[in-house]
Symmetry: C2
Protein backbone atom coordinates (compact mmCIF):
# COMPACT_ATOMS: atom_id res chain seq x y z
CA UNK A 1 0.00 0.00 0.00
CA UNK A 2 1.63 3.18 -1.16
CA UNK A 3 1.07 6.74 0.00
CA UNK A 4 1.84 9.84 -2.07
CA UNK A 5 1.91 13.31 -0.54
CA UNK A 6 3.61 15.47 -3.13
CA UNK A 7 2.11 16.75 -6.35
CA UNK A 8 5.67 16.64 -7.71
CA UNK A 9 5.91 12.88 -7.33
CA UNK A 10 6.76 11.40 -10.79
CA UNK A 11 3.72 9.09 -10.64
CA UNK A 12 1.44 12.07 -10.11
CA UNK A 13 3.01 13.79 -13.09
CA UNK A 14 2.46 10.72 -15.24
CA UNK A 15 -1.17 10.28 -14.13
CA UNK A 16 -1.91 13.91 -15.00
CA UNK A 17 -0.56 13.27 -18.47
CA UNK A 18 -3.23 10.60 -18.98
CA UNK A 19 -5.59 13.47 -19.79
CA UNK A 20 -3.78 13.58 -23.16
CA UNK A 21 -4.50 11.07 -25.89
CA UNK A 22 -0.78 10.70 -26.60
CA UNK A 23 0.08 9.51 -23.10
CA UNK A 24 -2.89 7.13 -23.08
CA UNK A 25 -1.74 5.57 -26.32
CA UNK A 26 1.91 5.37 -25.21
CA UNK A 27 1.01 3.57 -21.99
CA UNK A 28 -2.11 1.63 -22.97
CA UNK A 29 -3.83 3.06 -19.89
CA UNK A 30 -6.42 5.69 -19.03
CA UNK A 31 -7.70 7.40 -15.89
CA UNK A 32 -11.23 7.45 -14.47
CA UNK A 33 -12.66 9.33 -11.49
CA UNK A 34 -15.62 9.24 -9.18
CA UNK A 35 -17.51 6.56 -7.26
CA UNK A 36 -19.88 5.52 -10.02
CA UNK A 37 -17.22 4.97 -12.68
CA UNK A 38 -14.80 3.18 -10.36
CA UNK A 39 -17.64 0.92 -9.22
CA UNK A 40 -18.40 0.06 -12.85
CA UNK A 41 -14.71 -0.65 -13.49
CA UNK A 42 -14.59 -2.96 -10.44
CA UNK A 43 -17.02 -5.25 -12.26
CA UNK A 44 -14.17 -5.82 -14.70
CA UNK A 45 -11.39 -5.99 -12.11
CA UNK A 46 -8.58 -7.06 -14.42
CA UNK A 47 -8.84 -3.64 -16.11
CA UNK A 48 -7.79 -1.76 -12.95
CA UNK A 49 -4.05 -1.30 -12.49
CA UNK A 50 -4.11 1.12 -9.55
CA UNK A 51 -6.94 2.36 -7.38
CA UNK A 52 -6.19 5.88 -6.12
CA UNK A 53 -7.92 6.95 -2.93
CA UNK A 54 -7.84 10.35 -1.24
CA UNK A 55 -6.90 9.82 2.41
CA UNK A 56 -9.99 11.49 3.86
CA UNK A 57 -12.30 9.08 1.97
CA UNK A 58 -13.74 5.76 3.20
CA UNK A 59 -14.38 3.25 0.43
CA UNK A 60 -17.91 1.78 0.38
CA UNK A 61 -18.06 -1.50 2.33
CA UNK A 62 -19.70 -3.18 -0.63
CA UNK A 63 -16.60 -2.73 -2.80
CA UNK A 64 -14.45 -5.79 -3.16
CA UNK A 65 -10.91 -4.50 -3.69
CA UNK A 66 -9.03 -7.76 -2.97
CA UNK A 67 -5.90 -8.09 -5.08
CA UNK A 68 -6.16 -4.50 -6.28
CA UNK A 69 -3.16 -2.25 -5.78
CA UNK A 70 -4.26 0.83 -3.82
CA UNK A 71 -2.38 4.12 -3.55
CA UNK A 72 -3.47 6.65 -0.95
CA UNK A 73 -2.96 10.31 -1.79
CA UNK A 74 -3.54 13.71 -0.21
CA UNK A 75 -6.44 15.95 -1.25
CA UNK A 76 -3.98 18.13 -3.18
CA UNK A 77 -2.63 15.18 -5.16
CA UNK A 78 -6.19 14.07 -5.98
CA UNK A 79 -6.99 17.59 -7.14
CA UNK A 80 -3.87 17.64 -9.31
CA UNK A 81 -4.74 14.46 -11.20
CA UNK A 82 -8.47 15.24 -11.50
CA UNK A 83 -10.06 17.21 -14.31
CA UNK A 84 -13.20 18.01 -12.34
CA UNK A 85 -13.64 21.00 -10.07
CA UNK A 86 -14.76 19.04 -7.04
CA UNK A 87 -13.05 15.61 -7.16
CA UNK A 88 -14.98 12.87 -5.33
CA UNK A 89 -11.76 11.40 -3.92
CA UNK A 90 -11.50 8.13 -5.84
CA UNK A 91 -9.82 7.51 -9.18
CA UNK A 92 -8.30 4.56 -11.00
CA UNK A 93 -5.70 3.88 -13.64
CA UNK A 94 -7.15 1.31 -16.05
CA UNK A 95 -5.71 -0.74 -18.89
CA UNK A 96 -7.16 -0.84 -22.39
CA UNK A 97 -8.89 -4.09 -23.23
CA UNK A 98 -7.35 -5.64 -26.34
CA UNK A 99 -9.13 -8.97 -26.61
CA UNK A 100 -12.19 -7.93 -28.61
CA UNK A 101 -13.23 -9.88 -31.70
CA UNK A 102 -15.17 -7.47 -33.93
CA UNK A 103 -15.07 -9.97 -36.80
CA UNK A 104 -17.64 -12.04 -34.89
CA UNK A 105 -20.04 -9.17 -34.15
CA UNK A 106 -23.46 -9.20 -35.85
CA UNK A 107 -25.01 -6.02 -34.38
CA UNK A 108 -22.50 -3.27 -34.89
CA UNK A 109 -22.37 0.53 -34.71
CA UNK A 110 -19.74 2.32 -36.82
CA UNK A 111 -18.96 5.96 -36.13
CA UNK A 112 -17.37 8.23 -38.73
CA UNK A 113 -15.78 11.37 -37.24
CA UNK A 114 -18.10 11.95 -34.30
CA UNK A 115 -16.31 14.84 -32.64
CA UNK A 116 -18.15 15.94 -29.52
CA UNK A 117 -17.07 13.98 -26.41
CA UNK A 118 -20.54 14.31 -24.84
CA UNK A 119 -22.15 12.91 -27.98
CA UNK A 120 -19.73 9.96 -28.15
CA UNK A 121 -20.24 9.13 -24.47
CA UNK A 122 -24.03 9.27 -24.83
CA UNK A 123 -23.88 7.11 -27.96
CA UNK A 124 -21.80 4.50 -26.09
CA UNK A 125 -24.29 4.48 -23.20
CA UNK A 126 -27.19 4.14 -25.66
CA UNK A 127 -25.52 1.38 -27.70
CA UNK A 128 -24.84 -0.51 -24.46
CA UNK A 129 -28.51 -0.16 -23.43
CA UNK A 130 -29.62 -1.35 -26.87
CA UNK A 131 -27.50 -4.47 -26.38
CA UNK A 132 -25.45 -4.32 -29.55
CA UNK A 133 -22.19 -6.30 -29.83
CA UNK A 134 -19.76 -3.43 -30.20
CA UNK A 135 -18.78 -0.08 -31.63
CA UNK A 136 -16.07 0.68 -34.19
CA UNK A 137 -14.63 4.20 -34.13
CA UNK A 138 -13.31 5.39 -37.48
CA UNK A 139 -10.54 7.91 -37.94
CA UNK A 140 -11.50 11.43 -36.87
CA UNK A 141 -13.74 10.23 -34.05
CA UNK A 142 -12.84 11.62 -30.63
CA UNK A 143 -10.79 9.25 -28.42
CA UNK A 144 -13.15 7.19 -26.25
CA UNK A 145 -10.75 7.34 -23.28
CA UNK A 146 -11.15 11.13 -23.15
CA UNK A 147 -12.49 11.87 -19.67
CA UNK A 148 -15.59 13.70 -20.91
CA UNK A 149 -16.48 10.70 -23.06
CA UNK A 150 -16.01 8.37 -20.07
CA UNK A 151 -18.20 10.58 -17.89
CA UNK A 152 -21.09 10.82 -20.31
CA UNK A 153 -20.87 7.09 -21.10
CA UNK A 154 -21.76 6.57 -17.40
CA UNK A 155 -19.51 3.53 -17.26
CA UNK A 156 -20.87 1.77 -20.35
CA UNK A 157 -17.32 1.90 -21.67
CA UNK A 158 -16.66 -0.96 -19.23
CA UNK A 159 -19.43 -3.19 -20.60
CA UNK A 160 -19.44 -2.54 -24.31
CA UNK A 161 -16.59 -3.58 -26.62
CA UNK A 162 -15.19 -0.56 -28.48
CA UNK A 163 -12.35 -0.64 -31.02
CA UNK A 164 -10.72 1.84 -33.38
CA UNK A 165 -10.34 0.84 -37.01
CA UNK A 166 -10.78 1.53 -40.69
CA UNK A 167 -14.51 1.80 -41.37
CA UNK A 168 -13.86 1.05 -45.01
CA UNK A 169 -12.24 -2.29 -44.17
CA UNK A 170 -14.79 -3.26 -41.55
CA UNK A 171 -17.70 -2.47 -43.86
CA UNK A 172 -16.22 -5.00 -46.28
CA UNK A 173 -15.84 -7.61 -43.56
CA UNK A 174 -19.47 -7.25 -42.47
CA UNK A 175 -20.80 -7.22 -46.02
CA UNK A 176 -18.85 -10.43 -46.68
CA UNK A 177 -20.52 -11.86 -43.57
CA UNK A 178 -23.91 -11.03 -45.16
CA UNK A 179 -24.73 -8.39 -42.59
CA UNK A 180 -26.72 -5.50 -44.06
CA UNK A 181 -24.96 -2.15 -43.72
CA UNK A 182 -27.22 0.87 -43.10
CA UNK A 183 -25.77 4.28 -43.81
CA UNK A 184 -27.52 7.43 -42.59
CA UNK A 185 -28.07 10.56 -44.61
CA UNK A 186 -30.39 13.56 -44.57
CA UNK A 187 -30.75 13.70 -48.34
CA UNK A 188 -31.19 10.25 -49.80
CA UNK A 189 -32.33 6.81 -48.89
CA UNK A 190 -35.42 5.34 -47.31
CA UNK A 191 -37.19 6.17 -44.06
CA UNK A 192 -35.82 3.98 -41.27
CA UNK A 193 -39.37 2.81 -40.58
CA UNK A 194 -39.29 0.85 -43.84
CA UNK A 195 -36.42 -1.34 -42.60
CA UNK A 196 -37.51 -4.26 -40.39
CA UNK A 197 -36.01 -5.09 -37.01
CA UNK A 198 -33.29 -7.71 -37.27
CA UNK A 199 -30.71 -9.90 -35.54
CA UNK A 200 -27.95 -8.72 -37.82
CA UNK A 201 -27.14 -5.17 -38.87
CA UNK A 202 -24.38 -2.59 -39.13
CA UNK A 203 -25.40 1.02 -38.53
CA UNK A 204 -23.16 3.81 -39.77
CA UNK A 205 -23.45 7.28 -38.19
CA UNK A 206 -21.36 10.34 -38.97
CA UNK A 207 -20.00 13.72 -38.03
CA UNK A 208 -22.22 16.28 -36.27
CA UNK A 209 -21.89 18.81 -39.08
CA UNK A 210 -21.13 16.93 -42.27
CA UNK A 211 -22.63 13.49 -41.64
CA UNK A 212 -21.13 10.26 -42.99
CA UNK A 213 -18.35 10.45 -45.58
CA UNK A 214 -19.79 9.96 -49.08
CA UNK A 215 -17.41 7.12 -50.00
CA UNK A 216 -18.62 5.16 -47.00
CA UNK A 217 -22.29 5.87 -47.80
CA UNK A 218 -21.71 4.50 -51.29
CA UNK A 219 -20.71 1.18 -49.77
CA UNK A 220 -23.87 0.82 -47.68
CA UNK A 221 -26.53 -1.76 -48.49
CA UNK A 222 -29.13 0.98 -47.93
CA UNK A 223 -29.15 4.52 -46.65
CA UNK A 224 -31.68 5.48 -44.00
CA UNK A 225 -33.07 8.81 -42.91
CA UNK A 226 -35.18 9.85 -39.93
CA UNK A 227 -38.09 12.02 -41.09
CA UNK A 228 -38.20 15.57 -39.74
CA UNK A 229 -41.84 16.51 -39.14
CA UNK A 230 -41.36 19.94 -37.58
CA UNK A 231 -39.08 22.95 -37.96
CA UNK A 232 -35.75 21.49 -36.81
CA UNK A 233 -33.10 21.06 -39.47
CA UNK A 234 -31.72 17.82 -38.13
CA UNK A 235 -31.41 15.63 -35.05
CA UNK A 236 -28.46 15.40 -32.70
CA UNK A 237 -26.33 12.37 -33.69
CA UNK A 238 -26.79 10.65 -30.31
CA UNK A 239 -30.57 11.03 -30.60
CA UNK A 240 -30.40 9.53 -34.10
CA UNK A 241 -28.38 6.62 -32.68
CA UNK A 242 -31.06 6.00 -30.04
CA UNK A 243 -33.97 6.07 -32.48
CA UNK A 244 -32.24 3.86 -35.05
CA UNK A 245 -30.67 1.28 -32.70
CA UNK A 246 -33.93 0.82 -30.82
CA UNK A 247 -35.82 0.51 -34.08
CA UNK A 248 -33.38 -1.96 -35.68
CA UNK A 249 -32.69 -4.36 -32.82
CA UNK A 250 -35.10 -7.22 -32.20
CA UNK B 1 -29.33 53.22 -35.55
CA UNK B 2 -27.53 53.38 -32.27
CA UNK B 3 -23.87 52.84 -31.50
CA UNK B 4 -22.48 51.80 -28.10
CA UNK B 5 -18.77 51.97 -27.32
CA UNK B 6 -18.59 51.62 -23.56
CA UNK B 7 -19.05 48.44 -21.55
CA UNK B 8 -20.34 50.73 -18.79
CA UNK B 9 -23.33 51.87 -20.84
CA UNK B 10 -26.50 51.05 -18.83
CA UNK B 11 -27.93 49.07 -21.74
CA UNK B 12 -24.86 46.85 -21.80
CA UNK B 13 -25.23 46.27 -18.08
CA UNK B 14 -28.87 45.32 -18.52
CA UNK B 15 -28.14 42.95 -21.45
CA UNK B 16 -25.49 41.16 -19.38
CA UNK B 17 -28.04 40.62 -16.65
CA UNK B 18 -30.19 38.66 -19.11
CA UNK B 19 -27.91 35.70 -18.37
CA UNK B 20 -29.85 35.45 -15.11
CA UNK B 21 -33.31 33.93 -14.95
CA UNK B 22 -34.52 36.72 -12.65
CA UNK B 23 -33.75 39.48 -15.16
CA UNK B 24 -35.32 37.48 -17.99
CA UNK B 25 -38.52 37.08 -16.00
CA UNK B 26 -38.59 40.72 -14.89
CA UNK B 27 -38.23 42.00 -18.45
CA UNK B 28 -39.94 39.26 -20.46
CA UNK B 29 -36.89 39.16 -22.72
CA UNK B 30 -33.87 36.92 -23.34
CA UNK B 31 -30.60 37.16 -25.24
CA UNK B 32 -29.34 34.95 -28.05
CA UNK B 33 -25.97 34.94 -29.85
CA UNK B 34 -24.43 33.66 -33.03
CA UNK B 35 -25.37 33.63 -36.70
CA UNK B 36 -27.40 30.42 -36.68
CA UNK B 37 -29.63 31.37 -33.74
CA UNK B 38 -30.22 34.94 -34.92
CA UNK B 39 -31.10 33.60 -38.36
CA UNK B 40 -33.66 31.25 -36.79
CA UNK B 41 -35.07 34.13 -34.74
CA UNK B 42 -35.40 36.27 -37.89
CA UNK B 43 -37.96 33.74 -39.18
CA UNK B 44 -40.12 34.95 -36.29
CA UNK B 45 -39.24 38.64 -36.64
CA UNK B 46 -41.74 40.01 -34.15
CA UNK B 47 -39.77 38.25 -31.40
CA UNK B 48 -36.68 40.40 -31.98
CA UNK B 49 -36.54 43.65 -30.01
CA UNK B 50 -32.95 44.66 -30.78
CA UNK B 51 -30.36 43.19 -33.12
CA UNK B 52 -26.86 43.78 -31.74
CA UNK B 53 -24.03 43.78 -34.26
CA UNK B 54 -20.31 44.04 -33.60
CA UNK B 55 -18.92 46.85 -35.81
CA UNK B 56 -16.36 44.66 -37.59
CA UNK B 57 -19.05 42.24 -38.78
CA UNK B 58 -20.98 42.31 -42.07
CA UNK B 59 -24.45 40.85 -41.87
CA UNK B 60 -25.24 38.16 -44.48
CA UNK B 61 -26.91 39.70 -47.57
CA UNK B 62 -29.66 37.12 -47.33
CA UNK B 63 -30.85 38.49 -43.98
CA UNK B 64 -33.91 40.69 -44.16
CA UNK B 65 -33.58 43.12 -41.26
CA UNK B 66 -36.16 45.67 -42.39
CA UNK B 67 -37.99 47.27 -39.46
CA UNK B 68 -35.60 45.74 -36.98
CA UNK B 69 -33.87 48.06 -34.54
CA UNK B 70 -30.11 47.56 -34.86
CA UNK B 71 -27.48 48.62 -32.32
CA UNK B 72 -23.83 48.58 -33.35
CA UNK B 73 -21.29 47.84 -30.64
CA UNK B 74 -17.53 47.52 -30.25
CA UNK B 75 -15.82 44.13 -29.96
CA UNK B 76 -15.38 44.76 -26.22
CA UNK B 77 -19.05 45.43 -25.70
CA UNK B 78 -19.94 42.25 -27.62
CA UNK B 79 -17.53 40.29 -25.47
CA UNK B 80 -19.06 41.76 -22.32
CA UNK B 81 -22.60 40.69 -23.16
CA UNK B 82 -21.62 37.27 -24.54
CA UNK B 83 -21.26 34.11 -22.50
CA UNK B 84 -19.12 32.34 -25.11
CA UNK B 85 -15.34 32.56 -25.32
CA UNK B 86 -15.22 33.60 -28.96
CA UNK B 87 -18.37 35.62 -29.73
CA UNK B 88 -19.43 35.51 -33.39
CA UNK B 89 -20.33 39.21 -33.39
CA UNK B 90 -24.12 39.07 -33.61
CA UNK B 91 -26.64 38.84 -30.81
CA UNK B 92 -30.27 39.75 -30.29
CA UNK B 93 -32.61 40.68 -27.49
CA UNK B 94 -35.84 38.74 -27.98
CA UNK B 95 -39.26 38.86 -26.36
CA UNK B 96 -41.01 35.85 -24.86
CA UNK B 97 -43.94 34.63 -26.91
CA UNK B 98 -47.09 34.61 -24.82
CA UNK B 99 -49.75 33.65 -27.31
CA UNK B 100 -49.55 29.88 -27.08
CA UNK B 101 -52.69 27.79 -26.58
CA UNK B 102 -51.63 24.55 -24.85
CA UNK B 103 -55.26 23.64 -24.19
CA UNK B 104 -55.61 22.89 -27.90
CA UNK B 105 -52.51 20.71 -28.21
CA UNK B 106 -52.98 17.01 -28.90
CA UNK B 107 -49.35 15.83 -29.10
CA UNK B 108 -47.63 17.13 -25.98
CA UNK B 109 -44.41 16.58 -24.08
CA UNK B 110 -44.40 17.33 -20.33
CA UNK B 111 -41.10 17.62 -18.49
CA UNK B 112 -40.82 17.15 -14.74
CA UNK B 113 -37.61 18.63 -13.24
CA UNK B 114 -35.24 18.10 -16.17
CA UNK B 115 -32.19 19.89 -14.85
CA UNK B 116 -29.34 19.72 -17.34
CA UNK B 117 -29.47 22.62 -19.86
CA UNK B 118 -27.89 20.47 -22.59
CA UNK B 119 -30.52 17.78 -22.08
CA UNK B 120 -33.38 20.30 -22.18
CA UNK B 121 -32.03 21.92 -25.36
CA UNK B 122 -31.61 18.56 -27.07
CA UNK B 123 -35.10 17.49 -25.99
CA UNK B 124 -36.57 20.70 -27.47
CA UNK B 125 -34.70 20.13 -30.76
CA UNK B 126 -35.90 16.51 -30.84
CA UNK B 127 -39.51 17.39 -30.00
CA UNK B 128 -39.44 19.99 -32.79
CA UNK B 129 -38.12 17.40 -35.24
CA UNK B 130 -40.81 14.94 -34.16
CA UNK B 131 -43.42 17.58 -34.97
CA UNK B 132 -45.27 17.63 -31.67
CA UNK B 133 -47.51 20.57 -30.76
CA UNK B 134 -45.65 21.86 -27.72
CA UNK B 135 -43.75 21.28 -24.52
CA UNK B 136 -44.85 22.07 -20.96
CA UNK B 137 -42.10 22.61 -18.42
CA UNK B 138 -43.05 21.74 -14.86
CA UNK B 139 -41.57 23.31 -11.76
CA UNK B 140 -37.92 22.40 -11.19
CA UNK B 141 -37.13 22.19 -14.91
CA UNK B 142 -34.24 24.43 -15.98
CA UNK B 143 -35.32 27.73 -17.57
CA UNK B 144 -35.57 27.30 -21.35
CA UNK B 145 -34.19 30.79 -21.97
CA UNK B 146 -30.90 29.78 -20.33
CA UNK B 147 -28.24 30.32 -22.99
CA UNK B 148 -26.96 26.73 -22.89
CA UNK B 149 -30.48 25.48 -23.48
CA UNK B 150 -30.92 27.87 -26.40
CA UNK B 151 -27.59 26.75 -27.92
CA UNK B 152 -28.31 23.04 -27.73
CA UNK B 153 -31.85 23.55 -28.99
CA UNK B 154 -30.20 24.81 -32.21
CA UNK B 155 -32.95 27.36 -32.65
CA UNK B 156 -35.90 24.97 -32.20
CA UNK B 157 -36.98 27.25 -29.38
CA UNK B 158 -38.15 29.61 -32.13
CA UNK B 159 -40.35 27.01 -33.84
CA UNK B 160 -41.79 24.98 -31.05
CA UNK B 161 -44.28 26.36 -28.50
CA UNK B 162 -42.95 25.99 -24.95
CA UNK B 163 -44.74 27.06 -21.77
CA UNK B 164 -44.19 26.71 -18.05
CA UNK B 165 -47.00 25.35 -15.93
CA UNK B 166 -48.33 22.96 -13.35
CA UNK B 167 -47.97 19.43 -14.75
CA UNK B 168 -50.63 18.25 -12.36
CA UNK B 169 -53.17 20.70 -13.78
CA UNK B 170 -52.25 20.12 -17.40
CA UNK B 171 -52.44 16.34 -17.00
CA UNK B 172 -56.03 16.81 -15.91
CA UNK B 173 -56.81 19.05 -18.85
CA UNK B 174 -55.44 16.50 -21.35
CA UNK B 175 -57.14 13.57 -19.67
CA UNK B 176 -60.43 15.48 -19.84
CA UNK B 177 -59.73 15.98 -23.55
CA UNK B 178 -59.42 12.17 -23.88
CA UNK B 179 -55.74 12.29 -24.67
CA UNK B 180 -53.85 9.30 -23.26
CA UNK B 181 -51.09 10.29 -20.83
CA UNK B 182 -47.96 8.13 -20.89
CA UNK B 183 -45.67 8.31 -17.89
CA UNK B 184 -42.17 6.85 -18.01
CA UNK B 185 -40.58 4.74 -15.33
CA UNK B 186 -37.74 2.24 -15.07
CA UNK B 187 -39.59 -0.02 -12.66
CA UNK B 188 -43.19 -0.49 -13.70
CA UNK B 189 -45.41 -0.28 -16.69
CA UNK B 190 -45.38 -1.75 -20.18
CA UNK B 191 -42.73 -1.74 -22.86
CA UNK B 192 -43.22 1.27 -25.12
CA UNK B 193 -43.36 -1.08 -28.10
CA UNK B 194 -46.75 -2.30 -26.88
CA UNK B 195 -48.28 1.16 -27.31
CA UNK B 196 -49.41 1.97 -30.86
CA UNK B 197 -48.48 5.13 -32.73
CA UNK B 198 -51.16 7.77 -32.44
CA UNK B 199 -52.41 11.24 -33.35
CA UNK B 200 -53.03 12.14 -29.75
CA UNK B 201 -50.73 11.58 -26.79
CA UNK B 202 -49.09 13.23 -23.80
CA UNK B 203 -45.62 11.98 -22.89
CA UNK B 204 -44.26 12.67 -19.41
CA UNK B 205 -40.48 12.54 -18.83
CA UNK B 206 -38.63 13.27 -15.63
CA UNK B 207 -35.50 14.23 -13.78
CA UNK B 208 -32.10 12.79 -14.82
CA UNK B 209 -31.55 11.10 -11.46
CA UNK B 210 -34.94 10.48 -9.90
CA UNK B 211 -37.28 10.23 -12.91
CA UNK B 212 -40.89 11.42 -12.87
CA UNK B 213 -42.50 12.36 -9.54
CA UNK B 214 -44.58 9.45 -8.23
CA UNK B 215 -47.77 11.52 -7.80
CA UNK B 216 -47.64 12.45 -11.46
CA UNK B 217 -46.96 8.84 -12.53
CA UNK B 218 -50.05 7.79 -10.60
CA UNK B 219 -52.15 10.07 -12.79
CA UNK B 220 -50.89 8.57 -16.05
CA UNK B 221 -53.12 6.43 -18.26
CA UNK B 222 -50.20 4.02 -18.61
CA UNK B 223 -46.54 3.99 -17.65
CA UNK B 224 -43.99 3.05 -20.29
CA UNK B 225 -40.44 1.79 -20.06
CA UNK B 226 -37.71 1.36 -22.63
CA UNK B 227 -36.12 -2.10 -22.32
CA UNK B 228 -32.42 -2.18 -21.44
CA UNK B 229 -30.83 -5.10 -23.29
CA UNK B 230 -27.19 -4.56 -22.30
CA UNK B 231 -25.21 -3.47 -19.26
CA UNK B 232 -26.25 0.21 -19.02
CA UNK B 233 -28.40 1.13 -16.03
CA UNK B 234 -30.55 3.62 -17.88
CA UNK B 235 -30.78 5.90 -20.90
CA UNK B 236 -30.11 9.62 -21.02
CA UNK B 237 -33.46 11.48 -20.78
CA UNK B 238 -33.01 13.17 -24.18
CA UNK B 239 -32.34 9.78 -25.81
CA UNK B 240 -35.48 8.42 -24.14
CA UNK B 241 -37.42 11.42 -25.51
CA UNK B 242 -36.16 10.65 -29.03
CA UNK B 243 -37.03 6.94 -28.93
CA UNK B 244 -40.48 7.50 -27.42
CA UNK B 245 -41.57 10.54 -29.46
CA UNK B 246 -40.54 8.88 -32.72
CA UNK B 247 -42.29 5.69 -31.70
CA UNK B 248 -45.52 7.38 -30.61
CA UNK B 249 -46.09 9.88 -33.36
CA UNK B 250 -47.81 8.79 -36.57
Amino acid sequence: MERIESVKNPKVKQWKKLHTKKERENTGTFIIEGFHLVEEALKNKEMIKILIVSEEISLPHTWNVDNISITFVTKDVMKAISDTEAPQGVAAICEFQTTYTPEKWTKVLLLDSVQDPGNLGTIIRTADAAGIDGVILGEGTVDHFNSKVIRSSQGSLFHLPIVKGSLDEWLNVYKNNNIPVYGTSLQNGVSYKEVPEADRFCLLLGNEGSGVNKDLLDQATKNLYIPIYGGAESLNVAIAAGILLYHLRK
